[in-house]
Amino acid sequence: MSIRVDKTVDAKGLACPMPIVRTKKALDELEAGQVLELQATDKGSLADIQSWAKTTGHQYLGSTHEEDVLHHFIRKSNPNEVKEAKAYPHTISNDELLQKLANDTAPVIVDVREPAEYAFNRIPGAISIPFGELEQHIGQLNPEQEIYMVCRTGNRSDMAAQLLSSRGFNKVMNVIPGMSEWNGPTEKN
């Protein structure tokens, strides 16, 4: 399984603290919201990267294990993400969306988070279109259909909903808050 990321750090063969030292340095060079993959062979890196993410506030997305190599995925935190005002007026709560899923109406859900976030935890059936690529993939979507935009906390999906609305999509809803508090069914790669 290959997950698209913005930067990859190769710390294979290195013992701690080097995997975390390199991750920290590489993350400093990324923009908020971008995703980094750390490749390490040190088994201790699995627990350490999670604890480190928790203390720094960066988002730990998940890890995969291929042969002897661990692949850890981290998304750089964005201090604005939590406070930003929502501008798109048409919203739906997690619970309401869950209800629609339960009613089996197969709603169109567009997940605008990064591919690595989507890979480790998503609503079953959600389509992945990262916010940065929405414009170029807009043709995949039908303006007449009800579309539910989801991200982690409702900000990227808010911007995405505004973008679609400006292109003539009239049945777009922003899911509030999104995956950060989603307690319905999920799937991963």
Partner: protein, 381 residues
Amino acid sequence: MNQTELKGMTAGELAVKVFHHEPLFILDVRNESDFMNWKIEGKQIQILNKPYFELLESVDEIIDQIPDETEVLVVCAKEGSSQFVAEQLVEQGKSKVSYLLGGMKAWSEHLEPVKIGDLSDGGSIYQFVRIGKGCLSYMIISEGEAVVVDTLRMTGEFERFAAEHQAVIKHTLDTHLHADHISGGRKLAEDAGAMYWLPPKDADEVVFDFNPLVDGADITVGRTRITIQPLYSPGHTIGSTSLIVDGKYLLSGDILFVASIGRPDLAGKAEDWVGDLRETLYERYKQLPDDLTVLPAHFGSIAELGQDGSVSAKLADLFRNNPGLNMTSETEFRSAVTEKLPPQPNAYQEIRQTNMGKITPDDEEQREMEIGPNRCAVHDK
């Protein structure tokens, strides 16, 4: 700038400090969950946990908590992170700082031999204290011959010790199929040309040859025949067997510890074995001479170590003081040994499989499997 040179401390040097109750300040830079699971203990040890990844930029946050007068030891899982943090402490002017060579892995593997006593023919019995994991092995030496009981994975240590004492290892015995650590008994027997003994009732699934350790098996060491008398004592496992050495020492395996008793659940049969465990402790052991010196295969906390670092007790004292031997009702006993048990030892199922010969992990995998405390007693945390 202080130019103090940073030194590494070996696990052996640390063990001596713990045995002698020397004051030591430990900065453990592993992550919180590893620290909570398992750490270095000692009567005079102060310990602070701060993960290394919170100290990458600077040690300012903790520098005021690091003492100047007491010796400071920085510890991590393997070594690298503790060295990294220790260097920063030295740069900040702390002078009595060292780091643990080989980290908690080396600590987990270190064995410290302690002489327990003499035997009737002039031979001796030694206890090997695996202080970082709470495991105890024994070597009985008499007239140039040696028997090793509950051999740990680090077989080289036993070979070295026997050679130092001009003894040839003739037998290796396991009191039961261990679940918390990988036995070195079979390997040591192969390497030394000795006989390996295991209780047959624990060996249903074992895939190699062994000598059955049963009541009446005649095991002697030395020309004057120091006897090792096996005593079937089920409960921790169905095959658990104790050994009475030279009529003086009771090697109780994982049945009876100094501060607790064995847990019956590690092979998944807690309910079935509760009765056996109670019968062994409250009937079979009760019939033994109460001046026997009990030598268990584990200890649960550093408080069980005596002045010389060894772990032992008189059977009579344990009948008075050990909570596991003082539960009058069967109901109370049943609930104590089947409910609210501590978590199982790390990788205990894989360890049992390894000890049966069904899987053969490499050295590094074996090390990983054995990380953490032994947790074989019902009162462990």
